[in-house]
Amino acid sequence: MLRLSPVLDLGAAAPLWRGLCEARGAAIEIDASQVERIGGLCLQVLLAARTQWRADGRSFAIVQPSAAFADGVRLMAAADLAPQQEDVQ
């Protein structure tokens, strides 16, 4: 389980990237419930990670997206990153 920090701006991109690189090789659940803001750099880290996990044949899931997270990824045309609330259990 990885919990995203509230502000996903430039400063958060490198730590997020390092955290994901270290988590490779196992299924991952990413908790997006605390996110208040997400920018383009963290978005691309998450997108690249998802591609990586799929290539590795592992499960990659972002769970409990906050409204700000869902809104942010929708705005950047990556709405499929944030699951619908019904899917999250």
């Binding site: 920018g39 383009g40 690249a48 990586q52 045309a77 990556a78």
Partner: protein, 705 residues
């Protein structure tokens, strides 16, 4: 703005002018002042409204305007006399035409029954010669004698054109963009605010996770926006970021509509608009909006000399200029203060230079304010219709006389005049004037007269509404006031004081609220709204002869002459208009009244003492009045109060800062300003301070009794 909407907006603007001149002409005819020029002008007004309506496909308006025009044409040809009955009918027809225009604007609806009946009445005027045409015929009428063929511009299918042509924007954040506080998400959010944005993400450059450099942008986005969004608005989003986020912006045509306007819609629409204007009013160049001059179309030449050259300027530009001049005034005052504080003040050449600068600054300010000044005509011209409607609803006969329509006042004030005037006119007709029978019995002409006048008086604009009706029923007003507990049963009031009781909150009674005056608000609300603007309203009445409402407002709401005072360390500005005099009270003139209250003896009269600091909640206990200063202020009803402040710092003109949007409205504070030394000062709402304080003192007494 959508180009089509822009053209419509101009058409509606022109309609307002045409309808106003139509009404003006008919009123002149009614008064027997018209000649053939007047009839021609009236005819052309209806004709031009019809022309534009045809162009936009407002068929019902075309149909109605055509019948109206036919009757006017008969009058122009001398086949129909402009008798009073005929002109009255045409005035009511004008009201219906106004309704049509409003409905076309999407504001309000046309009473179809009324419109149809009116069309029949108009047609009856000329029934022998011109049968009423079907709508389609009217709309499709061929070239008439003005050489005007109803021109329908072909925009293709407006809706589909809008949906198919669209902006296509590609944005590719550069590496340094994020490091300057920008974010792609913010740009996308702003673009989404401009219109329905379709965003797609291009992640093709994204490397695999291991080789990704977390602070290098790899993503790009493509955003599609409706063509109706202005290019400048899109580019503005990226104005500051510049090359840190390169964009490509193209207009994708889709299936271009028949009109060759897809490439550069704005320019072509303008040309079309120009054509329509030229077509529809060939002989009325004076009424063509001077927008043409602003657009700099060279072939148009200068407007007629006799009319004076005018340009139409975007209000925002004027407001920006006024803001800047406001800053200039503040800066000039700051400079003066700094010089005064330094040794430079001794140098007479610096002092003279500063004086000249101040003079110049004042002149610039006055000139800039004059740009926004407008004649009150724009408000007055809506009133004849209102009067006709109220007269109709009450069964009274009314003649409205208007004076001083050319009186100029700042735009900020103009906008606030309409409601109070409407209410005063309603009141005058509904309560002031008698029924025709009552008037006849009183030996007056059956038709009552209502006069609406505007004039300048000592730096303010004064609006008077007077009637020759029955005047205020003072015994009745007094009874009501006693009944409502507004005055004591044995109160000794002058006639004037009784008349002004109608402005007290809570005075309005069931028996005095008819469906005319009752539509809206009581006089107390009218008074409050006027006071909020630094205005005053009062009434004078003569039994059997009529009443006069007098409303006065400052000429502008942008600057104010004020007295700078302090209370509890807070700097405040009291509007000079409210202050009668200032004085330092002697201890023997102050008398305690009750546990907390006090009064001050001023030349034999006692006025309540109000501590400004306490009234505004700046302190709990009032200061000793003889250690402070007193501002003797006069309220609207003529009552006086003594405001106690700590000290007076001086008198100066201040620029009112519009912080309304950010300030919660505080009771007793009207606005804010910035003084020469940079301090923010609050502008006192004297009337509210006085009222609040008096109410607080009376409330417990009323409960106890």
């Amino acid at each position: 703005m959508d180009p089509m909407d822009a053209i419509k907006a101009t058409y509606f603007q022109e309609c307002d002018e045409l309808l106003a001149s139509l009404e003006e002409g008919l009123l002149a005819l009614e008064a027997g002042e018209g000649d053939s020029d007047t009839i021609n002008a009236v005819f052309r007004a209806v004709h031009s409204v019809k022309g534009g309506a045809g162009a936009f496909g407002f068929d019902r308006m075309v149909e109605f305007a055509h019948v109206f025009e036919t009757a006017l044409d008969a009058m122009r040809a001398g086949k129909l006399d402009p008798e009073p009955e005929v002109v009255k009918l045409m005035l009511r027809a004008t009201d219906v035409l106004v309704d049509h225009v409003q409905a076309a604007k999407g504001e309000g609806a046309v009473d179809e029954g009324r419109a149809a009946a009116m069309a029949d009445d108009l047609a009856a005027l000329t029934s022998s010669e011109a049968p009423k045409p079907a709508a389609s015929e009217a709309a499709a009428a061929t070239t008439d004698e003005w050489g005007f063929a109803p021109l329908k511009f072909d925009f293709g299918d407006e809706a589909s054109a809008a949906s198919e042509a669209k902006w296509r924007l590609v944005m590719r954040p550069a590496p340094q963009m994020y490091a300057k506080g920008h974010d792609a998400a913010l740009f996308l959010r702003e673009l989404a605010r401009l219109g329905d944005a379709q965003v797609s993400l291009d992640a093709s450059a994204l490397p695999d996770l291991e080789s990704l450099q977390p602070e290098t942008p790899y993503l790009a986005w493509t955003v599609e926006l409706p063509a109706s969004v202005e290019e400048a608005a899109i580019r503005d989003v990226f104005d500051f970021v510049g090359e840190d986020c390169p964009i490509e912006l193209t207009l994708e045509g889709g299936e271009a509509p028949a009109a060759p306007s897809a490439e550069a819609p704005a320019a072509d629409m303008q040309a079309l608009l120009q054509a329509v204007q030229d077509e529809s009013s060939p002989e009325t160049s004076a009424t063509v909006p001077p927008a043409a001059a602003e657009k700099g179309s060279a072939d148009k030449g200068a407007p007629k000399g006799a009319q004076g050259a005018t340009i139409r300027v975007d209000l925002e530009r004027v407001d920006r200029l006024i803001d800047l001049v406001g800053e200039l005034v503040i800066n000039q005052a700051m400079l003066a203060q700094r010089v005064a504080e330094s040794e430079l003040a001794c140098s007479s050449s610096v002092a003279i230079g500063l004086d000249e600068l101040e003079q110049l600054t004042r002149e610039i300010q006055d000139s800039v304010m004059a740009i926004r000044a407008q004649p009150v005509k724009s408000v007055f011209q809506r009133m004849p219709r209102l009067v006709r409607e109220i007269a109709g609803a009450t069964g009274k006969q009314v003649r409205l006389v208007m004076e001083g329509e050319g009186t100029e006042v700042d735009k900020t004030v103009i906008e606030r005049l309409s409601d109070p005037i409407t209410h005063m006119l309603r009141n005058a007709i509904d309560h002031g004037l008698e029924t025709p029978e009552e008037r006849a019995a009183a030996g007056k002409p059956e038709e009552g007269a209502v006069r609406l006048a505007a004039l300048h008086r000592s730096g303010r604009i004064v609006i008077e509404v007077s009637d020759d009706g029955k005047g205020i029923n003072r015994p009745r007003v007094r009874d009501i006031a006693v009944e409502k507990g507004l005055i004591a049963a044995d109160a000794n009031l002058t006639d004037d004081e009784i008349d002004n009781l109608i402005f007290l909150p809570g005075f309005s009674t069931a028996s005095s609220v008819s469906n005319i005056s009752g539509r809206g608000v009581g006089m107390d609300v009218v008074k409050r709204s006027i006071q909020a603007l630094g205005g005053r309203i009062s009434i004078a009445s003569q039994p059997g002869k009529g009443s006069v409402f007098t409303l006065s407002l400052p000429l502008t709401l942008a600057v104010l002459d004020g007295m700078v005072i302090s209370a509890s360390g807070q700097t405040l500005v009291a509007p000079l208009t409210a202050i009668v005099e200032t004085l330092r009270p002697k201890p023997e003139d102050v008398r305690a009244l009750g546990p907390a209250g006090a009064v001050l003896a001023v030349r034999g009269a006692h006025v309540p003492l109000i501590d400004v600091g306490v009234a505004l909640g700046l302190r709990h206990a009032p200061i000793d009045p003889d250690h402070g200063v007193v501002l003797l202020v006069e309220s609207e009803g003529g009552g006086r109060s003594a405001l106690v402040a700590d000290e007076i710092q001086g008198q100066r003109q201040v620029v009112i800062k519009s912080l309304e949007a950010n300030y919660q409205r505080v009771d007793g504070i009207a606005a804010a300003t910035i003084l020469g030394d940079g301090r923010v000062a609050l502008i006192l709402d004297v009337e509210a301070v006085v009222e609040k304080r008096l109410n607080e003192r009376h409330a417990p007494l009323a409960k106890a009794s």
